[in-house]
């Protein structure tokens, strides 16, 4: 722990050469995980993450350093090495630190630290037993994992503020490998939350989660190769939101926008999407995977409407990148841990409900692809060129969902695809993922209702869609 007195000393050392902002980010976190492979516990681990990140800002310049040496000497040495980047007169002296208490929107009734390892193992085994009970010789390997993470963060800054935040989150994941004479396929499901064990009793029951992973893998074993070319694509709800995450979410982060490196720079108030699209980033949803009470520079989490009826309204902004935009941070500053300089990131990002039903969208599609399972994707925010891979997809013929296909990848340019979303349903759901970018790997929810893209390029090996 860093005392208030030491924090003031370190902040003042950081500020001695003219920085206009200084911040200490102290972290003491731990994570426990257990893995069960083919029915037997194969690994159990405990990891401690502990250290401090020091950040100095002066106008549009940022200086960052971290250390796991939390002694006074270690922190002062780091402060002295970083403040050499500036050579001006002191602008600020910190004399006191006032503790700011925020709302706890993600209460954990019983900490995972107090749950015996055996109970976590039993929980994972509910799912692995379910896979075993399927007794399908094509299932060659199945692994269940339970991970819980307790993150303790304290932030001191030169505005005289002091924040603390305790976060706990957990994830249950199953991966299944199946094989037959035609080849090998995989299935994966990994729901997570910032909630206690009740989440895995009610909303993400191990049996259902594990069975879904196994069934998807088995289904893909029988699936034909996905056709290729341009076609209408209906994207299923929940994890389908990875489309918006890649195509539009990253380009709306201040790290790209503030430097003119996003196609959305300067387009506030302009129509950038089809009028059926309203998109939101909301870090205030209680107990959701991507929610935060305060961000990693102490700003409270907020709900931001990014696009309203197709019109660009807002961005994800952190204080530093906000300087180039003449804006203050809106609670979007995040980092994996103290080893990463924080920047603007997403939280729970989703396309809001529309007026159609999923059934109407399928019925209105004569020939196309219905993508319901996704493996993730990536984007170049400057060009807006994105991709995402489908782990489960079907062909739609004459308004009906028909045969499964595998190996589909969807590609496009965010700006163009947003305008091609022509139907949005009313079945909004979320999917939990890890998003990797400059400030490391963080928890983010993707989300959307079922929607249709009138035309997008699909990559697959199955030739022309007929």
């Amino acid at each position: 722990m860093i005392s208030k007195k030491l924090a003031i000393e370190v902040l003042n050392e950081m500020l001695s050469t003219g920085a206009d902002f200084a911040e200490i980010f102290y972290e003491d976190s731990h994570a426990a995980s257990v893995a069960i492979e083919n029915g037997k516990v194969s690994s159990s681990s405990f990891d401690i993450t502990s250290g401090a990140g020091l950040r100095l800002l002066k106008e549009n310049r940022s200086v960052y350093g971290y250390t796991s040496d939390l002694t006074k000497k270690g922190l002062m040495n780091l402060a002295q090495s970083l403040n050499k980047s500036f050579s001006g007169e002191r602008l600020i002296t910190v004399t006191k630190l006032e503790m700011i208490r925020g709302k706890n929107r993600n209460p954990i009734i019983k900490s995972y630290d107090d749950i015996p390892l055996k109970d976590k193992i039993d929980l994972v085994k509910e799912g692995t037993n379910e896979i075993e009970s399927m007794n399908d010789p094509r299932i060659v390997r199945y692994i269940g994992n339970f991970l819980n993470n307790h993150r303790g963060v304290t932030i001191f800054n030169s505005k005289g503020k002091w924040f603390t935040r305790e976060t706990e989150f957990a994830r249950l994941a199953y991966s299944v490998i199946v094989a037959d004479e035609n080849g090998m396929e995989t299935g994966f499901e990994g729901p997570g939350c910032q909630m206690d064990m009740s989440f895995f009793k009610d909303k993400a029951q191990p049996r259902k989660v594990a069975r879904k992973a196994a069934e998807t893998a088995l289904l893909m074993l029988t699936a034909k190769e996905c056709p290729s070319g341009k076609m209408p694509v209906v994207i299923g709800n929940g994890w389908g939101g990875v489309l918006f995450h890649e195509a539009c979410g990253h380009p709306l982060e201040a790290s790209a926008v503030s430097r003119g490196l996003s196609y959305a720079t300067g387009k506030e108030g302009q129509m950038i999407a089809s009028p059926v699209v309203t998109a939101i980033d909301d870090s205030t949803i209680p107990n959701e995977w991507g929610s935060i009470d305060i961000d990693d520079e102490g700003n409270p989490g907020t709900k931001r409407v990014l696009i309203k009826d197709g019109i660009l309204k807002d961005f994800m902004i952190d204080d530093f990148n906000g300087r180039r935009m003449g804006r203050e941070g809106n609670g979007s500053c995040r980092r994996q841990n103290y080893k990463f300089c924080p920047t603007s990131r997403m939280s729970n990002t989703y396309i809001d409900n529309g007026k159609s039903t999923p059934e109407e969208i399928i019925a209105a599609t004569k020939l196309g692809l219905y993508a319901v399972g996704f493996a993730g994707g990536s984007v170049d925010p400057t060009t807006g060129e994105f991709n995402f891979g489908c782990s489960e997809a079907y062909i739609i013929r004459d308004g009906k969902v028909c045969e499964p296909v595998k190996g589909a990848t969807l590609i496009g340019k965010g700006e163009e695809i947003l305008k091609k979303i022509d139907m949005v349903a009313n079945d909004l759901a979320f999917g939990q993922g890890m998003c990797g970018a400059a400030s490391g790997s963080i928890r983010t929810n993707v989300g959307q209702p079922t929607l249709r893209i009138s035309e997008i390029t699909v990559g697959g090996r199955g030739g022309e869609l007929k």
Binding site: S42, S44, D47, T382
Partner: protein
């Protein structure tokens, strides 16, 4: 000694053999935006991994700090984690190899070069990219990274293994615009010998990478004969050689099950793992402390060896070939250190001539989503060029390439002479493949 108490307490707790794996590292990074330093970072950190065998099972813990409470905390965690293990995998705290090769991966001169000199080269790089072509409208990123680390393994039998590494990298990414079309390009240089850095060469490469993509349009969706660049081969080799991990072979979940001494690629393909090569990726011992050796994995298309750690080797009653990695859990992983694909004699131009009509694929994106290493199927966002009459003609705007790794490696008909080394420990040339499915229009 600082760590003696851990070994004492471990012995008292009934931990048979144990070890501490200590990684101490420092790093320096800076980047520019519009001619000014916008990010500067100087860091130091440690990671401690404690592993031990308790009642025949392996337990482990990792921590960023080693305090006075750590010995007890580490021992308790090893005992509690080992106590829940149910599988019967043989586990080891390796006692040491007879002989270790001397490795030189630390260049003392690098830290003596003033930061100012390193910074000046970066300003020069930014300026040269900007001035390299009028179509360059922005520098997306330009930066310098330097790191130094010392890995020490201390074992309860008294063995101590140490390796020091350092390296630096310059990188840059630019944005080019022509009409309404915007394209980005990126390249890098890394080494631990500062005198080898050529700022002009890197700037030119970044400008070329960026501007050459302009003017592209989508091609027809079809199957093409193709040249795959070194960067594309890097991605495919890493994915395919992952199939040689012995654990996956033993668990019947790899493309290389029952393929030892059989054909897994065309006869043009020879791929080795060379941890004893004179590169910054050299390693004298693996994560478990086993001495490493150079080893052919695929020779003229025939699979020669699987990759073993102590656990997977013991299951087959053989010796580990030095590919073990250790992490936080009880499970020991498997890795390669420095993969090299044997180069051929033809230049890129000659490869294109040989293709005649086809595509030149220079980059693949979204591997974590579009590459299924188990099935070998891939469908990936790509960048490339059209090859017409044996010459590269125009860029290809947003396409995918799809196929299967087994088919792809078997259809390599020629290997280029243009080997390139990448930062994740692999060196490979461009190749020709007889067919790859492209999705465009």
């Amino acid at each position: 000694m600082k760590y003696d108490k851990f070994f004492e307490l471990a012995k008292k707790a009934g931990i048979e053999d144990c070890e501490l794996n200590i990684n101490q590292s420092t790093s320096l990074e800076f980047s520019l935006f519009h001619g000014e330093i916008d990010n500067y970072s100087s860091n130091s950190s440690s990671t401690y991994l404690a592993r031990g065998i308790y009642k025949g099972k392996l337990g482990a813990i990792t921590s960023d700090v080693f305090t006075k409470d750590s010995p007890e905390q580490f021992v308790n965690a090893i005992v509690s984690n080992a106590s829940v293990i149910e599988n019967d995998d043989p586990v080891f705290i390796f006692k040491g190899s007879e002989k270790y090769h001397k490795i030189n991966t630390f260049n003392r001169e690098l830290s003596k070069i003033p930061v100012e000199d390193k910074l000046n080269k970066l300003f020069e790089l930014e300026k040269k990219i900007k001035e390299g072509d009028p179509r360059i409208i922005e520098i997306e990123t330009v930066g310098y990274e330097e790191s130094s680390s010392t890995l020490t393994i201390l074992k309860s039998n008294g063995l101590k293994l140490t390796q020091k590494n350092n390296d630096f990298a310059y990188y840059g990414g630019a944005v080019a615009k022509e009409g309404e079309q915007v394209k980005t390009g990126f390249d890098f240089f890394f080494s631990n010998d500062f005198s080898k850095f050529d700022v002009d060469k890197l700037a030119k490469s970044i400008v070329k990478e960026t501007t050459s993509k302009l003017g592209g349009h989508q091609c027809e969706s079809a199957t093409y004969k193709a040249v795959l660049s070194q960067d594309v081969m890097r991605a495919f080799i890493l994915a395919y050689i992952g199939s040689a991990v012995a654990e996956d072979i033993q668990k019947k979940s790899s493309l290389f099950v029952d393929k030892l001494n059989q054909k897994v690629a065309s006869k043009k393909v020879t791929i080795s793992d060379n941890p004893l090569s004179k590169t910054i990726f050299a390693r004298g011992f693996d994560g478990e402390g086993v001495a490493t050796r150079n080893m052919v994995i695929i020779k003229n298309g025939i699979l020669q060896n699987y990759l073993y750690n102590l656990t997977t080797a013991a299951k087959e009653g053989i010796e580990s070939n030095g590919h073990g990695t250790v992490g936080g859990g009880s499970r020991v992983g498997t890795t390669t250190w420095y993969l090299e694909m044997k180069a051929g004699k033809k230049t890129l131009e000659q490869l294109c001539e040989e293709v005649g009509t086809g595509v030149y694929i220079t980059d693949v994106q979204g591997l974590h989503a579009g590459m299924n290493e188990r099935s070998g199927n891939f469908s990936l966002q790509s960048t490339g060029f059209m090859i017409e009459n044996g010459k590269i003609t125009h860029g290809l705007d947003i396409i995918t390439v799809s196929g299967n790794l087994v088919d792809l490696f078997n259809s390599i008909s020629e290997v280029g002479s243009d080997s390139k080394e990448f930062a994740n420990g692999i060196k490979c040339p461009s190749v020709i493949v007889k067919k790859i499915a492209v999705s465009g229009k």
